[in-house]
């Protein structure tokens, strides 16, 4: 790592690397270090080693409505909001170390054609599950009538009637299907 950073500084000093490139390269190198040998270096001879979901591209009539909903209801962090058509909503681990994000955006000029395969809902994991408090927060947001479920897994419709599920590690766990 020391040799790697030393070389980066050389490249920055000589103008081969911009300030932005330096920062991004350091961030990626740190993320790879954080991923550790088990995940980042375990790629097989052929094929890919999947680490997780990167993002979901969410298209809707008004990205600002979606942005405000996901930030206020699910505590997501708004990043790279261009103020006109799109924003990123980050959640989970650090963005460059396994974090997930929604790209909420208005429809583009060339939206993709409908396909036979589609995402019909997404589910978020909620840590430290506290169902009474969750229900109270939904009610406080005026969402009691748009949500349902319980016992570790619930659903709520977002402002555009997209179906969202959220649950704890007991009710929603691929390790215990």
């Amino acid at each position: 790592m020391e040799r790697f950073i030393d070389r980066l500084i050389d490249e920055f000093d000589s103008g081969k690397l911009s300030r932005r490139e330096f920062c991004e390269t350091m961030a990626v190198a740190t993320a790879v270090l954080a991923a550790g040998g088990a995940a980042a270096n375990a790629a097989p001879q052929s094929g890919f080693t999947m680490l997780g979901v990167n993002h979901l591209s969410y298209s809707c009539p008004d990205y600002r409505v979606a942005r405000d909903f996901y930030a206020s209801v699910f505590g997501m962090q708004t990043l790279n909001d261009n103020g006109r058509t799109r924003a990123n909503l980050a959640f989970g681990p650090a963005p460059d170390n396994g974090g997930n994000f929604l790209v909420v955006h208005n429809p583009g000029n060339n939206p993709p054609p409908p396909t036979d395969g589609y995402v019909d809902h997404i589910c978020f994991t909620i840590a430290n599950w506290n169902e009474p408090q969750i229900k109270a927060e939904l009610a406080a947001q005026g969402l009691a009538g748009r949500s349902r479920g319980g016992n570790g897994t619930m659903r709520v419709l977002d402002p555009f009637d997209f179906d969202l599920q959220f649950g704890n590690h007991i009710a929603e766990n691929i390790n215990e299907p």
Partner: protein
């Protein structure tokens, strides 16, 4: 991390710290950031805060075909559900492995569940059919892979016969699955800070 690196780089550029100090500071920062348990602090007193994608539910006419495609292209394991014969779950990484960047014990591995629903089928099927029509769509899904190199990834995907491979900016590739759905592939360099910046 980026903000910290940028600050230290500024100090170095202005002569406030030496090259040696910059090197040592970045070494320590990288080690701390990479240490187990290093995560952004959670928002306090909030019950409903998304910790990670738990799963993505994907509907298609032939769930087995898509599951086999994911297993072949992305080396994903298949998990069957005795009570739900028309769906297959596919975890990212090995089952029971902690997701990248997660230290909490109550945040499990994310997964994709591919389904072929029958409108006249189970209660879950009927519930899904009864939902209001959404005015929002998930236009594509992006996945993170280890050790991503765009040229190498493109060659691998081409060798696997994957359709409609195209560049997605500096950090990623797009492709389509067997039912034409758009999938993006990238490394950790494509993230909420860099995307759209």
């Amino acid at each position: 991390m980026k903000a910290f690196v940028a600050t230290k780089l500024d100090e170095y550029s202005k002569g406030r710290i030496s090259r040696r100090q910059l090197l040592e500071t970045l070494m320590v920062a990288a080690a701390v950031a990479g240490a187990p348990g290093a995560q952004a602090a959670p928002a306090p007193n909030r019950a409903l805060k998304a910790a990670l994608v738990n799963h993505i539910s994907y509907q298609c006419p032939d769930f087995k075909r898509v599951a086999d495609w994911y297993s072949r292209v992305f080396n994903m394991e298949q998990v069957t559900y005795p009570s739900e014969p028309t769906q297959i779950g596919m975890p990212f990484g090995r089952r029971n492995q902690k997701p990248l960047g997660v230290t909490a014990d109550d945040v499990p591995t994310s997964y994709i569940v591919v389904r072929t629903r029958n409108p006249a089928g189970t209660a879950a099927d009927k519930s899904a059919v009864a939902r209001p029509r959404s005015r929002a769509t998930i236009e594509h899904v992006g996945y993170t892979v280890a050790d991503f190199d765009r040229n190498r990834a493109r060659a691998q995907l081409q060798a696997l016969g994957v359709q409609n491979i195209r560049d997605g900016g500096l950090y990623s590739l797009h492709m389509t699955d067997p039912f034409g759905y758009d999938i993006q592939l990238s490394g950790v360099a494509n993230n909420a800070l860099t995307d759209g910046a």
